[in-house]
Assembly symmetry: C2
C-alpha cells in the first residue's frame, strides 16, 4: 500500500457535507467510490482533516488514503481531478509515509467566511456568501476582532451538543477585509483548531457587534461566561470556506 496526501477544493452547495453518511451525497463518498474504481474494486477509504457541514466549501481541504498501486503523482492528481464530479477539484497529490495522518497531525487550520453586504443580494453569491442586509459599522467589527486572538476556552462559541471536552483553542489570526466594490466582507480565522460551528458563531457574533446590538467590547465577557447563549447567532454555512490545513513540516508555509 502507498499512502497519498491530496489537497482538494469543493463547492459544498450540492453536498450533504464532507463526511460519508447513509443518505445524501458527500465528498468522502464520491472520492471513495472513484478511488475504489481506480483500484479495480478494492475498497479505499479516505481520511479528511476534519468534516465540513452541508453547504460549507473547501479551498484547501486535505485528505489521505492508502492505494494498492504506486502511481505517478501527476497521473494520480489528474485522474482524481478529472474523474471526480465537477464540484470537486484536486489541486495536488503527494506521496507520504504511513506516519502521516490528515486529521491527527493538523497543527493549524485557516477558515474564511464571506458575507454579501450588497443591495440587492447578488444572485452569483447566493451559494458562496452569507447575506447580511442590515446596517453594519465595520469599524466596530475591526475593533472587536483582536479580542478573539490568543488562547481561550471557547465554550461560548461552540454549538451545543458537541462531544468535545477540551474547548480551549488558540486563534492566531482574526481579520476582515472589504472588497473593492464594498459589497462583500471576507473574514479570515487561523488557529490550532476550531470547535463545532465555531467560525459561524464567531461571524454571527461579530456581525451583531457591527450592527450595534452587542457592545464593541463584549467578546471578553462572552468568552469568560462559557455560555453559548451569550454569543450571537450561527451564520449560514454557505459563507464558510476551509481555506488551508497545515501539518508540522509545513506549518510555516
Amino acid at each position: 500500500m502507498v499512502r497519498y496526501k491530496a489537497i482538494i477544493a469543493y463547492d459544498g452547495t450540492n453536498f450533504s457535507g464532507f463526511q460519508r453518511q447513509p443518505n445524501g451525497r458527500t465528498v468522502q463518498a464520491e472520492l471513495e467510490a472513484l478511488l475504489t474504481r481506480m483500484a479495480d474494486g478494492q475498497p479505499i477509504m479516505i481520511h479528511g482533516s476534519g468534516r465540513t457541514d452541508a453547504g460549507v466549501h473547501a479551498l484547501g481541504q486535505v485528505i489521505h488514503f492508502d492505494f494498492p498501486y504506486e502511481r505517478s503523482l501527476e497521473r494520480m492528481r489528474y485522474a482524481l481531478d478529472t474523474q471526480s464530479p465537477e464540484d470537486i477539484a484536486v489541486s495536488s497529490v503527494e506521496q507520504v509515509t504511513e506516519a502521516f495522518h490528515a486529521r491527527y497531525l493538523v497543527v493549524e487550520k485557516t477558515y474564511q467566511f464571506k458575507v454579501d453586504i450588497g443591495k440587492p443580494r447578488s444572485p452569483f453569491r447566493r451559494h458562496y456568501a452569507s447575506y447580511y442586509p442590515y446596517p453594519l459599522d465595520l469599524e466596530r467589527i475591526r475593533q472587536a476582532l483582536p479580542d478573539l486572538l490568543g488562547t481561550h476556552d471557547f465554550t461560548s462559541f461552540c454549538a451545543s451538543g458537541s462531544s468535545v471536552d477540551d474547548k480551549v483553542r488558540t486563534i492566531h489570526e482574526a481579520s476582515m477585509v472589504v472588497n473593492e466594490a464594498g459589497d462583500q466582507l471576507t473574514f479570515t480565522f487561523r488557529g490550532d483548531g476550531f470547535l463545532y460551528k465555531m467560525i459561524r458563531i464567531l461571524v454571527g457574533t461579530l456581525l451583531k457587534i457591527g450592527n450595534g446590538r452587542l457592545a464593541v467590547d463584549s467578546i471578553p465577557g462572552i468568552i469568560a461566561g462559557k455560555d453559548r447563549n451569550l454569543a450571537g447567532p450561527t451564520a449560514h454555512p454557505e459563507g464558510l470556506y476551509l481555506a488551508k490545513v497545515c501539518y508540522e513540516a509545513d506549518a510555516d508555509n
Copy 2:
C-alpha cells in the same frame, strides 16, 4: 398604465435563456408570472434589451413593462427582488414615459466574458467562467484586441443561421484583464450592438490567437473574409455576462 424600467441581474445557470419559450425555465417567464400576480392576474409582459442564451448571465440587463397601478419605486423594486426566484435580482426600478423601449432605444451594450485559466479548474467558477486549459500567451491577445475596434462588417463573427441582414457593428472597447491570482481572464466588449453569439466567437478567436493556432494579426483578414469559418470556435456560454445597457440619455454614464 404606468411604464417602469428595471435593471436586473441573473445567474443564467438554471435558465433556458432570457426569452419566454414553450418549454424550459426562462427569466422573462418568471418575471412575467410574478408581475401578473402583483397585478391581480392582469397579464403583464416584459421587454428586455435583448435575449441572452441558456447559461449566459446578466449583471445589468434592462427590461421595461407596463403596470396597471402606480407603486413607489422602492416598493416595486423590493417586491420584484424579493418575490422573484433567488437567481434573479432587481437592482433598480424607475418610472419612464411610454416613449421608452428597452430594446429599440439601446445605444450601447457592454458584455464581459470570464475565462478560468487555472489548474485545476475551480469548482466555484464552473458555472461562471469558461475553462481554457491550454497554453496562452496573453501578450498575443493584447496585441490582437485593438484590431476589433471601430466599425466593421462582423459577418465572420456571427453564428450562421442569424436572420439579421445588416452585420455592421461598431466596437468602442475590447480589453482584457487578468485577476491578481493570475488564474482568470475578464474580457470586456463595449459597442453599439453585437450579433448572435458574436462575443463568444470573438473570445474563441482571441483564445486561438493566444494559443498560437491563429496569427496575432489575423483579425483584419478574418473580418474582411466575411466567412464564419475563418474565425475561432464559439466559447462556452457560462463565461458570458451582459454587463450594462445604455440608452440615449445615459449613454455617457
